[in-house]
């Protein structure tokens, strides 16, 4: 099948449709508006529902309702809109419902700006809403990878009956790359015996996050924690790019990882042993990727489009056995290869303070 040139945001939309998603509730915000724009056209073509809500608060509650009724459902937004959704996300986790939430991150805090950033890492991986919860966070780095990951996003949401977040940034949403869409497959959505589908005389299905008796809520929390532990065990994903023999290992995700790959390429051409670990799941963080590297790598350098958030997970994953340095640009600015290369040089020369 021929390749087509597609924007990242459009690829999310097409990937979702191909994964069997037929319900999208959203509200426009740059830099993800091409996604609702695409689905406004595409959903009616496949008999799906596209609805622009009056706010992000309404959006996430529509997702909650649709998921509770058994739909394969998605919403998307960027920073400020995702913040508005946090209460609803917590409810969806509490009620154990599957859905996909897309955050094409932009500069913050507050209204910030519309330029690309990765500064919602804490919010995504620590649970931006209230209560004791986790969710799988996927971080693609190319338009093709978006297409490939969308099916997984919905399947993982179903497997664990938990929201899955796809975390990108403005660059990834706006850039165009060739993609191979492949054949459209028939999608099998797993049965949802728990869904609230009307009074049909069977057992009662209650979609709810209220456990008013503390003994009951504790049991619920322990059951949820077992699910999160299973995710941590089974779902860590990462790309290892020449890290096995690297003296210095870069750690970056999404667009920052693309920039770092260019730096690794340059270093390798010059004979410097530099590699990259690119987390594909921000949560669960791919701790497993770091275990063998503790025997081979002398330094780690985390590169982010923030003031340093994932770097804390890298320090945990390396148990601080090795120095973990940080380089970041923020506020919508991008790290450029030349500057990351300079930071690498400095560390290799032994001149960088932790």
């Amino acid at each position: 099948m021929a390749k087509i040139l597609m924007k990242g945001n459009e690829a999310i939309g097409e990937g979702a449709v191909r994964a069997g998603c037929r319900y999208f509730f959203g509200y426009p915000i740059t830099p993800q508006s091409e996604l609702p724009h695409y689905l406004a056209k595409r959903m009616p073509q496949v008999g799906g529902v596209y609805l622009q809500a009056e706010s992000e608060v309404a959006t996430i509650n529509m997702v909650y309702g649709a998921a509770g009724a058994g739909a394969r459902v998605m919403t998307s937004s960027s920073g400020p809109g995702i913040s508005l959704m946090q209460e609803g996300i917590s409810y969806v986790v509490g009620a154990e419902l599957p859905c996909v939430i897309v955050n094409m991150m932009r500069g913050g805090p507050g209204l910030g700006n519309i330029a690309p950033a990765q500064s919602d890492y804490f919010q995504a991986t620590r649970g931006g809403g209230h209560g004791d919860y986790r969710m799988i966070v996927l971080a693609p780095a190319s338009v093709q990878e978006i297409i490939d990951l969308m099916q997984d996003a919905f399947d993982l949401a179903d497997r664990y009956r938990n929201p899955v977040m796809l975390a990108g940034d403005g660059v990834l949403g706006q850039m165009m790359e060739p993609v191979e869409l492949g054949e459209e497959k028939e999608v099998r959505i797993p049965p949802r015996p728990w869904a609230a589908t009307g009074r049909t005389g069977g057992e009662k299905h209650l979609i709810n996050s209220l456990y008013i008796v503390p003994e009951d809520l504790e049991k619920h929390n322990i059951r949820l924690a077992a699910k999160f532990a299973a995710m941590e065990k089974e779902e860590q994903r990462w790309e290892d790019y020449l890290a096995a023999d690297a003296e210095l290992v870069l750690v970056a995700f999404g667009t920052a990882a693309r920039v770092c790959k260019a730096v690794v390429d340059r270093c390798r051409r010059e004979g410097k042993a530099v590699g990259l670990i690119r987390p594909l799941t921000l949560w669960p963080f791919p701790v497993k990727a770091f275990q063998p590297l503790l025997a081979t790598a002398a330094h780690f350098l985390t590169v982010e489009m923030s003031m340093g958030q994932m770097v804390e997970d890298v320090r945990l994953a390396t148990r601080e056995c090795r120095p973990v340095y940080f380089y970041g640009r923020c506020g919508g600015m991008l790290p450029v290869a030349g500057d990351v290369y300079a930071a690498v040089q400095k560390i290799l020369a032994g001149g960088e303070a932790k």
Binding site: L5, V171, Q174, M176, E177, T255, R258, K261, L334, A337
Partner: protein, 185 residues
């Protein structure tokens, strides 16, 4: 082959679509390509630029921070991005709208009165493709045929009558560089 091309100008000058055309042509020729816009809150009249990478190996970073070629469609773009061009690179200046010269001496600079030339061939909107034609001649990054093929795919059918004048613009750019006796690099 690795070309990282930065195209910059005013919003409304067709900077983003010219970049898409180039990326599309690269894809048709089987290259790895990436297109990345700077997106601002402005519409027409604001600044706009996009980076296009075309390579024969997978593209590590789509971010064009050190272009091999800069196409400057207006003066602020030349002033802003000239320092970033790689040594030995290329700057194509739309001298219809830019009344200053580039300062760099370690890059090749070509001045093209694209707007006047576009008027001369009967359509002021094809200025970009005159410069694109010059780029193709100097760098050989894609063929004119691939760009024409891309136009056919990107333009809706009711605009296909514009393809011949666009082709003429590409060829005019190519001729301008040939007249200078340039060699492909």
């Amino acid at each position: 082959m690795f070309q990282a091309i930065l195209i910059a100008g005013f919003g409304g000058q067709g900077v983003l679509s010219t970049g898409q055309l180039l990326a599309y042509a690269g894809m048709l020729e089987g290259r790895h390509v990436a297109w990345i816009p700077s997106y601002g809150p402005e519409m027409r009249g604001g600044t706009a630029n996009c980076g296009v990478t075309i390579a024969d190996r997978p593209i590590s970073s789509p971010v064009v921070s050190e272009p091999t070629t800069l196409i400057a469609m207006n003066r602020p773009s030349l002033e802003k991005f000239e320092p970033d061009v790689q040594p030995g690179g290329l700057i194509l200046v739309n001298s219809s709208l830019i009344d200053i010269k580039a300062r760099r001496t370690d890059v090749r600079v070509e001045y093209i009165k694209a707007n006047e030339l576009a008027e001369e061939i009967g359509n002021s909107k094809v200025a970009n493709n005159i410069i694109l034609g010059a780029l193709l001649e100097i760098t050989g990054v894609v063929s004119i045929d691939a760009v024409e093929e891309s136009l056919r795919k990107v333009l809706p059918a009711h605009h296909h009558d514009l393809i011949p004048v666009n082709r003429r613009a590409l060829e005019l750019g190519r001729e301008l560089m040939r007249e200078k006796g340039t060699e492909k690099r």
